[in-house]
């Protein structure tokens, strides 16, 4: 091969930057998490596991883990299933699929922060169209459907909808109420993420050979559901694995909506990890505890990715 030393100049910048920007910070975070260092201090002392001890025993951080877990466990499955359903529906349409695809992909593209503010107004109790839509529907079809009056165990006088109507249109202040805030934030997360998953699934669906469906039909799988179980779902295995992993990693990193809409409240019900890192380390200048949260956060993500790469990957590939 060529005896030029060109390759050194080619790879050196990348290697140096990788070490400084990606690898060194890992160790720095680990190091700081064992100290009482705060930004601006001249000295620091090693405090061992004290920061981690705080993290798993103080109420705030326990709530943080709960909020993060709730968010991830709700958003990931729902946005993946919605993405799959949307992709399959679009794939079976005779016309109009492109329009829906554009619309469903818009939230992925749009600046999330701006959309969070738009949602804030949409869900606002006095300015928003959601609550005015609900209020105008009292006693009508909307109440019947959204109050779940069709379900046998729901008393049509006692459903949440009927109660709100009876109490002078007392519909929830979605983002400020303890019992609704986290679910509302989850909803916005799902709204934003499912279009991305849909596009990945659409790509996955086009790569399934038509002959497989014909073969399945000959084997007696006539209904759409049977064909889905026999052909579509197994063939989408690798796509699903990838979609789930990437959605999980993105979902873990939720920050924009929380910071602008709830600030972790009410009473820490939406206090997710990225927001906790920001609030503790940047706003309150508690660098060391922020570092400990960072370490746990990265730990979660590395475990997830390794799990995907080396454990499940072997099983889903056909």
């Amino acid at each position: 091969m060529h005896n030029s030393k060109a390759h050194i100049w080619f790879i050196a910048p990348a290697i140096i930057l990788m070490i400084i920007i990606l690898i060194f910070p890992l160790f720095l975070a680990g190091g700081i998490s064992f100290t009482d260092y705060n930004l601006g201090n001249k000295t620091f002392e090693w405090v061992g596991l004290e920061n981690y001890d705080k993290m798993f025993n103080r109420k705030t951080y326990v709530k943080m883990i709960w909020a993060t877990a709730t968010y991830v466990i709700v958003v990931v499955p729902i946005s993946v299933v919605l993405g799959l359903c949307a992709a399959m529906l679009l794939n079976s349409l005779r016309f109009g699929a492109d329009i829906y695809k554009t619309i469903f992909f818009l939230p992925v593209m749009a600046t999330l922060l701006a959309m969070a503010i738009a949602w804030e107004f949409t869900l606002h109790p006095t300015l928003g169209i959601v609550n005015s839509f609900l209020a105008n529907g009292c006693g009508g079809v909307r109440e019947f459907i959204l109050g779940f009056h069709l379900l046998p165990w729901v008393d049509s006088q006692e459903s949440w909808y009927a109660v709100a109507c009876a109490n002078n249109m007392d519909f929830p202040y979605w983002l400020k109420q303890k019992n609704t805030a986290i679910w509302t934030v989850c909803f916005i997360g799902i709204w934003q993420a499912f279009g991305f998953n849909m596009v990945l699934y659409l790509a996955g669906l086009t790569s399934i050979p038509r002959e497989l469906y014909q073969a399945a039909e000959m084997d007696g799988a006539k209904s759409t559901w049977e064909q889905f179980k026999l052909v579509t779902w197994p063939m989408l295995g690798p796509t699903t694995l990838f979609v789930v992993t990437i959605t999980t990693i993105r979902t873990f990193q939720v920050f924009d909506t929380i910071e602008i809409l709830t600030k972790g409240g009410p009473s820490k019900t939406t206090y997710v990890m990225m927001y906790a890192i920001f609030e503790k380390a940047i706003q309150q200048n508690l660098t060391s505890i922020g570092a400990a949260i960072t370490v746990v956060f990265i730990g979660f993500i590395l475990v997830l990715t390794f799990f995907q790469r080396y454990v499940i990957e072997k099983r889903v590939h056909y």
């Binding site: 091969m1 790879i11 990348a14 700081i32 593209m109 959309m115 107004f121 940047i282």
Partner: protein
């Protein structure tokens, strides 16, 4: 059979239309609010665009403009006043400066490295490549805090460098370009060497042109991600308005939800959000390709 299929198709459209309405709700709200007057917003009346009656806007008068200047239609007022209150062009320009610098540096660093990893044989190549694979696992937002500490120690908080530096290395870009260069036939490179081209010239004059499609997808991926990024600018820009990127600008416009006028606020948010959305609608295929790039294996 025919009729049954049509009914099935109808049901699908019904479900998708309901979905589309829910998805479009905030967009509708945003555009509508940016066009209507404060009274119409507060009484939730006027549909999408409101009555558009010419009127004098009290907040504008209070700010010190003459009554004559402050008399116009709501949509004109909202957009005009938004630009009066905040240096929106400056925010947009910062967005362009930051995203373009990030992309250009990413390419300058990643392209030669990818070429070396794909086409040059040297001692330690496998090691460098496994380092790239390892770094792919690290979420940059996750290590934001140590990066912030490093930048603070270097005195770089509140500078353009703080916005750009952490993103200069895109291991994903290296990985992507390497995979792409693997498919370029060796003969092409050998021919270039025969012509007396050096390795540098090969990277920029032979490899770069072949990589344009992949590079374009990567450009969209990178630009969209950094244009929309809020977390990192929020960390490192503390108050200097001159350095605000569009999302930081949006945050500033929002101000107090109960105190301010909503029309101009939404007008500024629309202005900042619209460039990307328009670009997306024009070049939809390329955008979807670029953003789902991480989906390629």
């Amino acid at each position: 059979m025919e009729a049954k299929q049509y009914i099935g198709e109808g049901w699908k459209h019904a479900i998708l239309i309901i979905g589309a309405i829910v998805v479009m709700l905030p967009f509708y709200m945003m555009v509508s609010m940016s066009l209507k007057s404060q009274q119409e917003i507060q009484s939730i009346s006027g549909g999408l665009i409101g009555a558009q009656e010419t009127q004098t806007f009290p907040v504008c008068v209070k700010t010190g403009y003459s009554e004559e200047t402050c008399t116009m239609k709501p949509y004109q007022y909202n957009y005009w006043f938004a630009f009066e209150k905040a240096p929106i062009p400056r925010y947009l320009m910062n967005g362009v400066i930051v995203t373009l610098s990030i992309f250009i540096i990413q390419v300058l660093v990643a392209l030669p490295c990818a070429y070396a990893l794909a086409k040059l044989r040297f001692y330690g190549r496998e090691f460098v490549f496994s380092m790239v694979l390892f770094c792919l696992l690290i979420p940059v937002h996750g290590i934001a805090l140590p990066l912030y500490v490093m930048l603070a120690q270097a005195g770089l908080v509140d500078t353009y460098s703080a916005l750009i530096l952490p993103w200069t290395i895109s291991v994903f870009g290296i990985f992507l370009m390497r995979q792409f260069f693997m498919t370029v036939p060796d003969e092409l490179i050998d021919a270039a060497r025969m012509d007396g081209m050096g390795e540098y010239a090969i990277v920029w004059k032979v490899m770069l042109p072949t990589a344009i499609p992949a590079l374009l997808a990567f450009a969209i991926f990178s630009v969209v991600a950094h244009w929309n990024d809020y977390f990192w600018p929020r960390m490192v820009i503390t108050g200097n308005r001159d350095l605000f990127t569009p999302p930081l600008g949006i945050r500033e416009f929002r101000g107090g939800i109960d105190s301010d006028e909503f029309g101009p606020m939404m007008a500024s948010i629309v202005t900042v959000t619209v460039p990307l959305i328009v670009a997306f609608i024009i070049a939809q295929k390329r955008f979807i390709e670029g953003i789902t790039l991480t989906g390629m294996k």
